[in-house]
């Protein structure tokens, strides 16, 4: 799906837990996520810290969208 969105000229950040799959399928801007059942959260953290973690991941995804890339890039 990331590829089809990229194809129409819309930059897309793929926040994905299994980065190798995202790379294999062909997403161009990849942001590694936390875990499969909670990619943008961590239930072990207090809720305010968890929200901060999520905000940081989303900021990273937005940063990826603002970065020109030539080929597949993982934003660690």
């Amino acid at each position: 799906m990331a590829k089809e969105i990229d194809r129409v000229g819309l930059p897309v950040a793929h926040v994905a837990t299994i980065v190798p799959i995202s790379l294999t399928v062909g997403a161009n801007r990849i942001v590694p996520a936390i875990a499969i059942p909670h990619p943008l959260g961590d239930p072990r953290l207090p809720s305010d810290e968890e929200r901060e973690l999520r905000l940081n991941l989303v900021r990273k995804a937005l940063q990826a969208l603002q970065t020109e890339v030539e080929s597949q890039t993982v934003f660690d």
Partner: protein
Amino acid sequence: MARGKYRIVHYLNQFFAQIGGEEKANTPPLIKEGAVGPGIPLQQVLGEEGEIVATVFCGDNYFAENIETARAQVVEYVSSYTPDVFVAGPAFAAGRYGIACADSCSAVREKLGIPVVTAMYQENPALDIYRKDAYIIPTAGSVLGMKDAIPKMAALVRKLGLGQTVGTPEEEGYFPRGIRVNQFVDQTGAERAVDMLLSKLKGEPFQTEYLMPTFERIPPSPAIKDLASTTIALVTSGGIVPLGNPDRIEAASASKFAEYNIAGIDDLTADAYQTCHGGYDPTYANEDPDRVLPLDAMRILEKSGTIGRLHDLYYITVGNATSVANAQKFGRDIAERLKATDVGGVILTST
């Protein structure tokens, strides 16, 4: 006692059957005895063991535009010569001819139960449609590849004609058909896997037993220039839906995606949203769906002016065992819908 010659019927288009060019492309199927055009060198390579008893030919446009009629007629003609093997082409990169060759092969195999062989260029659109149905030999993209293609086709036709066992795609040089064959080997899977890994670590060649599909690459879209004035959309394959999953998105092998309006909602809560994704423990996503679809974070960044706006609709499907073909279809549809709005960038989350 000498075994009788095995019998071959060959399929060609109007051009290779020497009927004419595009002006004859509407010619319906016909058959004549013996080898014609590329069938002549094919017969030479096959020698005395096999014989091209007849050649069926048809105009490329006729076949493409009347595929069911043409296919039925070809099968009938082929059947009347009771061949042991059917061979078509080579079609090289020709799209209509490739379809005609491969479709004839597929129909002959299905109706007459005999082995079928064709040949074409790797980017011929017929390859992916019919690769399971026929042995398809790779050729060059143009007729210049004829002299290489003929001996390869002949080698496979001969094996099939003599009723010999056909080996793997690597051994015989045909495109992989996606067929798995059980075989007995001395080493267990674990031993073979470790051997492969050791070879890989040493930089030595090794042969995988399960080739992963290859995916087309798309050039990255240009970056967002001014985030503070850009509308961002959320898309997820993580299955976050309104409670009760009103559109019945499947937990695995999804056949559809959905769009839901989140205008005026600042946080996804357990009493209104859930995940419908199978294959992972849904506890955490159900407890706080923002863990998969980060609506709360997007609203904070919208209010602080980091992004221009969050798009009113989000798109959701389930990635669990969903076919690449379906994911592509959903992706295309979602992309078209987003393209029609002022959305300038997308965050796609996957579990």
